[in-house]
């Protein structure tokens, strides 16, 4: 069964249909929230958003737009959460960007820490660009902003990330 049919059923009060929608979108939404809020709070943020989405589901005019509609709700909740729990790190203080994880799962870079150098909206734009491979207009529709704003957010995000990545290279973080 496709998204639109499930949405129509859920709009009629069918919780089983809505649960199926949650299952279909859970992983994608958690990945997005991770990039915006960080790993620790992402699942709570998505869960809160999905409860909100259930309550507002009747207002969704076109059922096939559910994936971008629910992503926008998650984005809004994630931005609010990220602002309240701001963990932005000044560039000067970003001394150790190398992943502190265990040897077994150690990544060459602490991705979450690098992302924390960006404001939440720029993290969202970069996630949808890099991870989801979405076009500017798709990102704009999902976040409720113009495509020109998407390009502007992405340019500023890259301007911030580049010095951090260069610093990481100087620290020897590029060594595998």
């Amino acid at each position: 069964m496709n998204h639109a049919a499930l949405v129509l059923q859920a709009q009629g009060g069918d919780m089983d249909a809505y649960s199926t929608l949650v299952e279909l979108n859970w992983v994608r939404l958690v990945r997005f929230a991770r990039s915006v809020t960080g790993d620790a709070d992402a699942e709570d943020v998505v869960q809160d958003s999905l409860v909100t989405a259930w309550k507002k589901l009747g207002a969704l005019k076109s059922p096939e737009a559910f994936p971008s509609w629910v992503l926008r709700i998650v984005a809004r909740v994630a931005f609010r959460h990220a602002r309240r729990h701001s963990r932005l790190t000044p560039l000067a203080a970003a001394e150790n960007l190398i992943d502190p994880g265990s040897d077994r799962d150690r990544e060459w870079v602490d991705v979450e820490h690098v992302l924390s150098l960006l404001p939440p909206r720029q993290r969202a734009v970069m996630h949808l660009t890099v991870i989801e491979g979405m076009s500017d207009s798709e990102i704009g529709a999902s976040l409720g902003i113009a495509a020109a704003s998407v390009r502007s957010h992405r340019r500023r995000a890259r301007e911030t990330l580049l010095p951090a990545l260069r610093r990481m290279e100087l620290q020897g973080g590029t060594e595998s």
């Binding site: 999905l50 409860v51 890259r158 260069r166």
Partner: protein, 112 residues
């Protein structure tokens, strides 16, 4: 990402980001769906009607006003004060305020 940067480093960062993002969530989709369904079906906490807040504020203001008026009257009431008999009867626009038990203050209000 940017012609000014090292494309190799940026590409490696994007790859690392993809691996980081691709880790499975702690809750499986089925667990998450069950939790969302449970929370969505919870009855919201009973909230007081909106009109009750201004009504309560109005009652508080009313009671405060009445109390202040009674205090004002008690201040100017001559019956329980010494030396009351010597006070001049109040005329039109005149107000008497007792500064302390023995000190009356007369004020006269007039139109300009």
């Amino acid at each position: 990402m940017n012609p000014m940067g090292n494309p190799e480093t940026e590409k490696r960062f994007e790859e690392a980001w993809k691996r980081w993002a691709a880790r499975p969530p702690r809750q499986s989709p089925a667990e998450a769906a069950a939790r969302v369904a449970r929370r969505a079906c919870e009855r919201p906490a009973r909230r007081l009607p909106v009109w009750l807040y201004p009504a309560a504020a109005a009652v508080v203001i009313l009671i405060s006003g009445i109390t202040l008026l009674r205090i004002d009257r008690a201040v100017v009431a001559p019956s329980d004060r010494p030396g009351v008999q010597e006070t001049v009867p109040l005329g039109q626009g005149q107000v008497l305020i007792w500064l302390d038990r023995n000190t009356p203050l007369y004020m006269t209000f007039q139109n300009p």
